[in-house]
Amino acid sequence: MAKDELMNYEKALEMFEVVIGLEVHVELNTKTKMFCGCRNEFGDEPNTNVCPICIALPGALPAVNRTAVESSISIGLALGCEIAPNGRFARKNYFYPDLAKNFQTSQYDEPIAFEGELTVELPSGSVHTVQIERAHMEEDAGKLTHIGGSTGRIQGAEYSLVDYNRAGVPLVEIVTKPVYGAGTEAPELAAAYVRSIREIVKGLGVSDAKMERGNVRCDANVSLRPHGQEKLGTRTETKNVNSLRSIERAVRYEIQRQAALLAKGTAIVQETRHWHEDKGATSAGRPKSDADDYRYFPEPDLVPVQPSKELIESLRAKLPEKPGDRRKRVQAEWGFADLEFRDVVNADLLDQIEETVNAGAKPQAARKWWTGELARIANSENKDVTELEISGAHVAELAQLVDAGKLNDRLAREVLTYVLAGEGSPAEIVAARGLEVVSDDGALIAAIDAALAKQPDVLDAIREGRMQAAGAVIGAVMQAMKGSADAGRVRELLIQKANA
């Protein structure tokens, strides 16, 4: 992959205005697929959730999943969209083996929902309203695995294997209008927007919303134009960016790459680009071409969807609280300061902390674990903290063990690594590994005496009120007991000794 020339980010923003557009695909968590009764399930044996409809055997007739339609309407309503009184499906024709039909059943000129908006808050606290152009129903495609070729890249592949379990899974594609005015914060806005979409669909219960499983996927369009120019610049579309952090990075990268080209007078090629998480770069995919002539036409096998006013209003009445309202509520419930809360939101940890608090942890302890130690571990493993294999219940249990004095901070961190390694719950690990803190006075006093033998002046210092002198002894006791001493108890015992 050729290395792109990048312009300094601040300079790029001085020279150009950034315009972004986002397409978010949300996989619905219905029990069955969009047009057939096959199971909608992640991770099953390949080609076991398939039938004549979703592998396109001749004569098969699709039928629309009622729940998928209702979920789509709910998403539209949550985004403030109008719901089309008459919507229909269309065939998007293309030859690619990820769908067996040679077309994707989608919506084209009559999407189920249109003209909405979503207000998102950025890490800096600034608030933007993103205009939604449309949300339409379609089906997901199958999964291709490319085999052979020396580089492992598709260009060298000798053949491809197709699993159609995912083909026909209901998708809602949400498309924004061009988004202006975020300035230097365009990458953050892109990520914050997708985060809000995720919160909404999760809150609605219509999607599992796990980005790492591809339940929510984002294509990011980026174009630049000189400040003051009316006409939009040529855009690129970076496909399938699958974490919030990647979205931010990919948009930032495209801004810097395009700015460097434009500054040299080189035209931007309108093309699909691919984000490479490992390299932190995008690369050119195929250019927009004749192959994108999708020849949409109305799907003759499906009749129009005409949701009644009653249905729409009953779905509207069931909408959960808006993400912004929820944030205000939980911040008040948890008593977090604005800055603390902003860190939580930006780290995408609302759900985790809510789960942890609901499992019995104090809100501040939950916050401290998730934004502190767990975020640090995730960062060191180059992951999103939300991808860590740990539940809120486990974090709550850990916090409670610390509160009860059974673990000190150091031991708790150690236990955490074992939880992440899949050894079980914190309590199970403490029992299995014998990791409880030593607060047995006999053992502690012996260690204190040993430490005092080497530092005999400490007791005098404590008597004179210089408590900082105790630190050296506490440290020595800790070291002698390999970190498992109850530091608070050691301190108490030292003071008792000094005053004896």
């Binding site: 390949p46 398939v50 009622r66 592949a157 053949y159 491809s160 195929r286």
Partner: protein
Amino acid sequence: MSEITPDLVRHLAGLSRILVTDEEVERFTEQLSLIVDSVAKVNEALAGVDVPATSHPIPMANVFREDIVEPSLTQAEALSGAPDSGEGRFRVAAILDEE
């Protein structure tokens, strides 16, 4: 007259993954022109008449299936008609243009 040109026929053939000879391009250009012109007559007949476009001949809407799991094919059944398969999956020619 319609706008069907030999180049358009080649383009359509490409989109449809159909190999056409020059002789066929010529023949299809004529035939497709005839079809498009014939259909255009419907528009002439309807000029000035307010008829909404329709995508379905029968006036019906809202035909839904409940979200209930129905039996799928087995993997062996699913793959039984495949020209080639491997590892429980359909095996197809290498894909050359994506990612």
